[in-house]
Amino acid sequence: MSIPAPTVYVVDDDVSFLTAVARLLRAGGYAVKLYSSADAFVKDPPPEPVGCVIVDLHMPGMDGMELQEVLARSSSPLPVIFLTGHGDIATSVHAMRKGAEDFLTKPVNREKLFEAVQRALVRNALQRAAGARDRELRALYETLTPREREVMTHVVAGRLNKQIAADIDAAERTVKAHRASIMAKLRVQSVADLVRLSQSLGL
C-alpha cells in the first residue's frame, strides 16, 4: 500500500478566500483540496488521513467546531487549523483545548500559515508513524495464544514463574516455555521491554 502525498484540505464558505488560500498553498508546494462547506467535507472525506485541515470557524450549516468534533471521532484524526475572520479568546481557547493545531485569524500572512501547515503535517506524519508501530505491535500481540496472553499479564505484573504456575495451576516449566514463546513472538529481549510494549498496547 503506497502512502499518498500529504494534502492540505481547506474548508471555507467564502469562495474567493478559498481560491486565494489554495493558490498560496499550491505556490508553496502543497497539494490542496477545497471544500466550500463542512458538510461537503464530511460527505466526501479524504481517502487517507494524510495531511491537515484548514477550516473557517463560522460557516452556514456545520461550523468549524462541529467539523473538528467529527474529525476527532475518527481513528486517525487529521490535525485542524482554524482560520477565522474574527476569533475571540474564549473560542480559540476552546478550540485549542479540543486539540486544534493552531488558531489563526484572517488575514494571515504566508509565514504563519505555512508554519502552521508545516507543523500540522509533521504532527500528522508522527501520528501516522506512531499509528503504524502501534498496528505492528498489535499484530504481533494477536499471534499470542490466550494462555500466553494470560501468562503475559502476570509477567508484566512482575510475578515470579513459581507464583504464576501456582496462580494458573500449571507446572513451573510450562510457564517458562510460555514466557520464552511470548518473548520470541513479540520480539523483545527483556521483561523491561515487554512492560514498555504492554504499556503502549494499553494493556
Binding site: S16, R23, L24, A27, R110
Partner: protein, 613 residues
Amino acid sequence: MLGTFNWITIVWPMVASACLVLGLIHLRIVFGDGQRAPHLFFAIAAFAVAVVSGFELTLLCTSDLARYQEVLRWAVVPIGIMVAATACFIRSFFGTGRLWLLVAGVALNLVAQAANLLSAEPVVRHAVDLKQVTSFGGAAYTVPTIINGSWERVELLSVLLVLAFMADASWQLWKKGGRRRAVVVGGGALFFLFVARGHAVLIENGLLQTPYFVSFAFLGVICAMAHELSSDVLRVAMLSRRLRESEWRSDLAARAASLGFWTLDIQKDELWASDSARALFGVSPDERISMNRFFELVHPDHRDAVKRAIENSLKGSGEYEVDYRVQLDDGRIRWISAHGRTDFDEAGKPRLFSGALADITERRQSEIELRQLRGQLAHAGRVSVMGQLAASMAHELNQPLGAILSNAEAAELFLKQDPPALNELADILADIRKDDERAGEVIRRMRALLRRQDMECVTLDVNPLVQDVFRLVSADAALRQTVVQLDLAPDLPGVEGDRIHLQQVVLNLIMNALEAMGAQSAPKRVVMVSTRRGEDGTVRLCVADSGPGISEASLPLLFDPFFTTKPNGMGMGLAICHRIIEAHAGRIRAENRAEGGALFTVTLPARAGVSSG
C-alpha cells in the same frame, strides 16, 4: 361819517375780524390733514361773512344814493357765497340732506345774482331813497327805502330752497342720532338765516328802521358751526393724546417682546419703521429706509421669498407672514419673523402695508440645536447598533482582506518560480481587484450609516433599503446561527424619507429580533422581514421574530426612552426608532404574534404616483 367812532363803526369791523380769524384758522386746517371739506366751506362762509360785514358797514355809513345802489348791488355776491358755503358746509359736515335741494337753491341764487350784476339796473332790489337815523349813543346811520326788482322772488325762492335743504339735512341727522349737531348747527343756521333774511325784508319794506345785521346773524351761524367743528378738533386732540399713550404702551410692549413695527405707505412710497425695528436691522434711527435698502439687508437666500410674500399680500391676500435672515452691516446674522397685513382702500387698491417684526434668532438657534441634538442622538443610536455589528463587520472585512493578502503572497511565490508562473498572475490580480471592491462595499455600507447626522428627505423605495440592511446584518445573523428571511412585495409605492434614518430603524428592529432569540435553539431562530402595500396608501414594513415575545407589562413602555429589557441596554434604540418614524409621519407598533415571537410594524405614508416597480 366814516371817520367817526361809534358803536356801529366798532361792532361791524369786530364781526368781520372775528369771522376772518375763524376763517383763517379753519383754512389752516384745510391745508393740514384730515376731513377737509367742512373746514374749507366753513372758511369760505366765514370770509364771506367778514366781507358782508364790511358791505353792511359801508351801507350804514353811506348817504350818497348812487354809491349806496352800487354797494347794495355787489353785496348780493358775498351774501350768496355765504349762504351757499353754509349750505355746503352742512352737507359735507352732516353727510345728509337732499342734494337736489342744495343744488337748486345755490343755482337759483347764482342765477339771480348774475341777473342782478349783468343787467344795467339792479333787478333784485334797489334803494330809491335814503334817510339818516340816529340811534342810541348818537350813532347815525343810513336807512334805505328799497324797491324789489323783478328777480327778487327768484332770490327769495333760492333762499327758501336752501332753508328747506338745511331743515331736511338737520332732520335726517336728527333721525340718525346726531341730535346735538342737528340742533346746534342745523337749527342755528336755519334760525339765523331766517332771522337775517326776515329782518332784511322788514327793513326793506320800511317796517323796521334798524341797521342791517345780516353779518350779525351769520356770525351766529358761524359760531354754531365753529363750535361743532372745534368739538371735532378737540376730539382729535384728545384722540391724538390717547394715540400717543397707546403708542407709548405698544412701544413698551414692543420693547418687552423685542418687536419692531413698520408701515409702508404705498401711494406715497414711504417706509416708516419704529426705532426697535431699525435696531433689528442695525439701521440708525435717522437713516431714510427705502424698499431697496430693506432688500439689501435681507439675506440673499431669502430675498425672493420675502419679495413673493410682499407681492402676495399686496395683490390680494392681505396677509403677510414670512421668516427671513438679515445680514447686518457688521456681519452678524439675525433671524426675523415678520407678520403684517395690507390695508386696502375702497377701490381695492393697497393703501398701507404694515406689521410687526420679531427677533427669533434665539428660537431658531435653539431649534437648530435641538435638531442637531436629535440628529446626534439618532447617530449615537446608530453607532451603538453598529457597535453590536462590529464583530461580524470585522469578519466581513477580514474575508476579502485575507483573500487579498493570500493572493498577493501567492503571486510573489509564483514570480519567484523559474520560470515565473505568469499565467496565474492575471487571475490573481483580477481576484485582488474583486476582493478590494468587496471590502470597499462593506466599508461604504457601514460609513453610509455612520456618516450624516441631519435628516434629508428624498423619495425612496423601501425594498432596496431593506436589502441594504439585510446585507449589513447577514454576517451577524450567520454568527448567531439565525436565518433572516426577506419577503418583499414587488409593487411598493415610494415613500418620502431619509434613507439613513429609515435604515437605522430597520437595522434596529432586526438587531433586536436577533438578540431576542439568543436563548432559542438554532433551527427555530428565524427573523422574517416583509414589506407590503397598505390599503390606505401606505407602505408597511414588518419585522417578526420567533423569540419569546414581549411581556404584557413591557408592551406599553417599549418606545419610551431609557426603557430596556436587555441587561446592558441603554433603552434608546426603540425610542429613537419611534421618533424617526414620527418624523416621517408614520407609525410604529409592537405586538406579540399568535404563533409566538414579537412583531414590529412600521407604517409609512406612500408618496402618490411613485412605484418602485
